[in-house]
Amino acid sequence: MIEKALKGGPRYWAWISFLLLVILIGFISYLRQLSVGLGITGMSRDISWGVYIAQFTYLVGVAAGAVMLVMPKYLHGYKRYGDIIIFGEFLAIAAVTMCLLFIIADLGQPMRLMNVLLHPTPNSILFWDMIVLNGYLFINLIVGYNTLLAMRKNVPPPGWIKPFIYVSIPWAFSIHTVTAFLYCGLPGRHAWLTAIMAPRFLASAFASGPAFLLIMLMIIKRVTRWSPDPEAIQNVARTICYAMIANLFFLGLEFFTSFYSNIPGHMNPLKYLFWGLWGHNALVPWMRTSVIVGLIGVFIMLVPQLRRKEGFLILGCAAIVLGTWIDKGVGLVIGGFIPNPFEKITEYQPTLPEISITLGIWATGFLILTVLYKMVIYLKERDLAAE
């Protein structure tokens, strides 16, 4: 099947070359990080996690989002998703791979990665995160690959993958719940110490994952002869809308609890993120943009006349992807470290090598996604030609 990804027009090859170039630059930066240490990043004693862990957190959500297609199809027999579900599964594969790469990029001693398996430590949430993420990758590889093989032969997927599909539903919830537990069980990090961290993560995942998927499907529609079922697209858009409303609602809950209780420790991180605190306000424009584009996204998805216009739909999805990305990929991790345990503020600014490693990993994810989607598109176009 993979050889189908080696055939494409000049635009396809230009895209692949571009991705390979970005990966190469990222890889060179990573070699430098390996020799010098994490000192080449903008992280510090106070902001000890940065853009790598933030991307990891965001992408766990994108991966978990695929379940919003699997659930209606397999639990409620919603047939219209049958055609696009494989795109969701492949998106999950690419996203989880990026998650794992971001974790490795973040380690101070990556050569010792296997210590996590050599000395299994069940009281560490990171141990469980490793299990659920690898498990989710494994499940999606099995399901995605066998679905693809079945598509090639024009037969329904084999029955034995059904249990894997059903397991993938709670498993998708687990990856984001466990990832939330990484943060929300730490004493003294007030911004993270909230019981609704897992629900917030899930709501944001079920908005950002499907929104990301819809953008991909719209691009596929424009660059190939195959196009997805418009009614299925509309339904995904509705899901995104509900999830994003829940996500913004949860954010509002955080504001209420922090500010009505008037507890400084809980107010300070939110103040820092949205208004600036003690003269530091680097993230204020980001966080305000996040809320504004989130609301714009909800508005577009909520009004049927807008949602049904493809241009607006893409705009709405892009707004939601951007909003949730800033919320989790920028604000959440950094906000948890500000102020620091001494009630002081150190700000964080990723460095150029750090950004290029980050882009390199994103490009790796897109390369995986492109190759996987290319195979699916080949089969879809073949079927169209046969009809």
Binding site: V36, G37, L38, G39, T41, M43, S44, R45, D46, S48, W49, I103, D106, L107, G108, Q109, P110, R112, L113, N115, V116, L118, H119, T121, P122, N123, S124, I125, L126, F127, M130, L182, Y183, G185, L186, P187, G188, R189, G265, G336, F337, N340, P341, F342, E343, K344, T346
Partner: protein, 260 residues
Amino acid sequence: MGIDRRSFLKIVGLSALGVSSGAWEVLQPGEVDAAHGHAAAEHVEKAATRWAMVVDMRRCKDEKGCTKCIDACRLVHNIPVIDNPKREVKWIWKEEYEHAFPDSHNEYMPDELKETPFILMCNHCDHPPCVRVCPTKATFKRPDGIVAMDYHRCIGCRFCMAACPYGSRNLNWINPRPYIKEINNEFPTRMKGVVEKCNFCVERLAKGLQPACVEACHCGALLFGNLHDPESNVRRVLRSNVSIRRKPELGTHPCVFYLV
């Protein structure tokens, strides 16, 4: 495969049950803090030794600008001197009251107290969040209460740095060796990419010595002793003075006490 769906489900169900009950025990904070299995039982029986530090700020405050304890620690443990505060490594350091005790600060306190730099270090908590989160047991709790580091095992994930509410942990963002001013051959250095912190001079305790900072302090502001011995120096001092600890509300049970 000679396994039908029913037996498959049985196996899955049973193993899920096993995992969840095992996980439940394991997730009880503090119970699995120690590096080896039998330590939990010892914990219940109360180990013979529980090391603790008392910092008498009444004695320390008059020694303005004194850095004897910090210098001694730096020398003994080959701690690098890195000027950039983002990259610095510190095991024992000074911080003003309002930053050391941010939750119990008020503006009407004596100026003297407000301006006094407190001596901070790892609290060697009874329920250390850093140990709870470490995915490789690279940081672990010894039966004598010391929260120790195994630099050979640390993968540099920095989960412990996020978990420590006292800012006591440092990553070696770069190779520390070029930044070590004076070298002590008796103690190793660290390498880039591992986390380090105060170890209560576990290597000196093994030889029957006091921690380096305690030995270096000439005004008697640092007292080190066994909390489980009712007649120990630290217990006597704690019995007859009011002491405070950093962020006790977090349930970590810090074992560095301050007299003010």
